[in-house]
């Protein structure tokens, strides 16, 4: 079923408006089959986006999708697009394992729902109360307070007790076997299947990457000194060492790296091995970013992008150094 915009409220939107308690009005409902969406994504996204642009709402609500995968992905894709292009707050609802969640949780407020539409009665009031707050411009509380799924962001807050006190109290609770709540939950890490070994180094092209923040002096691409949002690549093929480089990394004493950047990214040694014929080629481009405070999500993104470039360029393996 192709997308259709109907002014006013249809289906769950009827109940939704009631839950807004007169603080908001559902001005239109977009209906679209989830299969149709996924099979004609570009076209449908454009149509939906135009309808929303014309209606110009203050908040966009999608779903809830519960654990419906294709519906979840449709909600996620359109939520992300609306938030990015129209710069309005976006709310949706999903079960934790919905494949749409990872697509949009960083940019949309996603209410955590049950896995089936049986949870509609619980999900809608939560979505409505978030909508009401966002319409009024009230700043939302932490995910556990306002009932949305953590977006992977950190916020600076003033607390009554300073960090050292809170940490010691947490530690004492832990030692006494009492419950405690971490302020820095660790992400779950992936297991990566190892790449096959290189048969012959003498014919291999090897690239050098670092998370040590080594960049050309002046940091022309303005790579962040912490919580990096981007990576850079520099043609060093003509250089015997990383002269003219320094570190922009804000997480370690830079004296030694600024003196000799190759202490962090050993380009000089790689070139020596190339000259000696121990390896086939040191790949001309050097890839770099800052590792400190950089989220696992961003790092995965960087890794996928850099990996794809290196693979396309025929690089056989990579030395990655970190500080």
């Amino acid at each position: 079923m192709p997308p259709e915009y109907r002014p006013g409220k249809v289906g769950p939107a009827v109940g939704f408006e009631g839950l807004l308690k007169g603080e908001g009005e559902v001005i239109g409902t977009i209906i679209c089959g989830d299969n149709y969406f996924n099979e004609n994504k570009q076209e449908v996204m454009g149509m939906i986006l135009n309808s929303i642009r014309e209606a110009s709402p203050d908040v966009f609500v999608a779903g809830p999708a519960f654990n419906a995968g294709r519906y979840g992905v449709a909600c996620a894709e359109i939520s992300k697009k609306v938030a990015e292009e129209l710069k309005i707050p976006v709310i949706t609802g999903m079960y934790l394992e919905n494949p749409g969640l990872d697509i949009c949780k960083g940019i949309a407020y996603v209410i955590s729902t049950s896995d089936s539409a049986g949870g509609m009665r619980k999900a809608l009031p939560l979505m409505a109360s978030l909508t009401e707050k966002l319409v009024k411009g009230i700043e939302l509380g932490a995910p556990e307070i306002d009932g949305y799924i953590a977006r992977g962001m950190r916020k600076t807050l003033f607390m009554e007790k300073r960090g050292s006190q809170r940490a010691v109290e947490m530690l004492i609770n832990r030692l006494q076997g009492k419950p405690f709540e971490t302020e820095m939950p660790m992400p779950v890490f992936d297991v990566v299947s190892p790449a096959a070994a290189i048969k012959d180094l003498r014919n291999a092209t090897i690239a050098l990457c670092t998370t040590g923040g080594i960049v050309p002096k002046g940091n022309p691409d303005r790579i962040q000194s912490a919580s990096a949002q981007k990576w850079g690549k520099y043609d060093v093929g003509g250089k015997k060492a990383l002269e003219g480089f320094y570190t922009t990394h804000g997480g370690y004493d830079p004296i030694y790296a600024n003196e000799i950047p190759d202490r962090v990214a050993p380009w000089d040694i790689l070139k020596e091995f190339e000259a000696e014929g121990y390896i086939g080629k040191a790949f001309n481009w050097f890839y770099t970013t800052t590792g400190t405070g950089t989220s696992v999500g961003k790092s995965v993104e960087f890794g996928v992008q850099i990996g794809a470039e290196l693979k396309a360029a025929g690089v056989d393996c990579v030395l990655l150094t970190s500080t």
Partner: protein, 62 residues
């Protein structure tokens, strides 16, 4: 190539070469020029040789 190798393991690196120190993983300013070069060359060689070694799980190359 990293000094805090527990982090390397936790992010799924499979060939890990432990290095010298956080601010100078592949170097040591306390050594004279010649000794530092020898050290640096041996560390990078270890990493290159690790690439030619089959592994089935995160493995340290000391």
């Amino acid at each position: 190539m990293a000094t805090i190798t527990t982090i390397s393991e936790s992010v799924g690196a499979n060939r890990i070469v432990p290095t010298v120190a956080i601010p100078y993983p592949i170097g040591n300013p306390n050594l004279n020029k010649e000794d530092e070069h020898t050290l640096r060359k041996s560390l990078v060689k270890k990493a290159l040789d690790a690439l030619t070694t089959e592994v089935t799980e995160p493995t340290h190359f000391e």
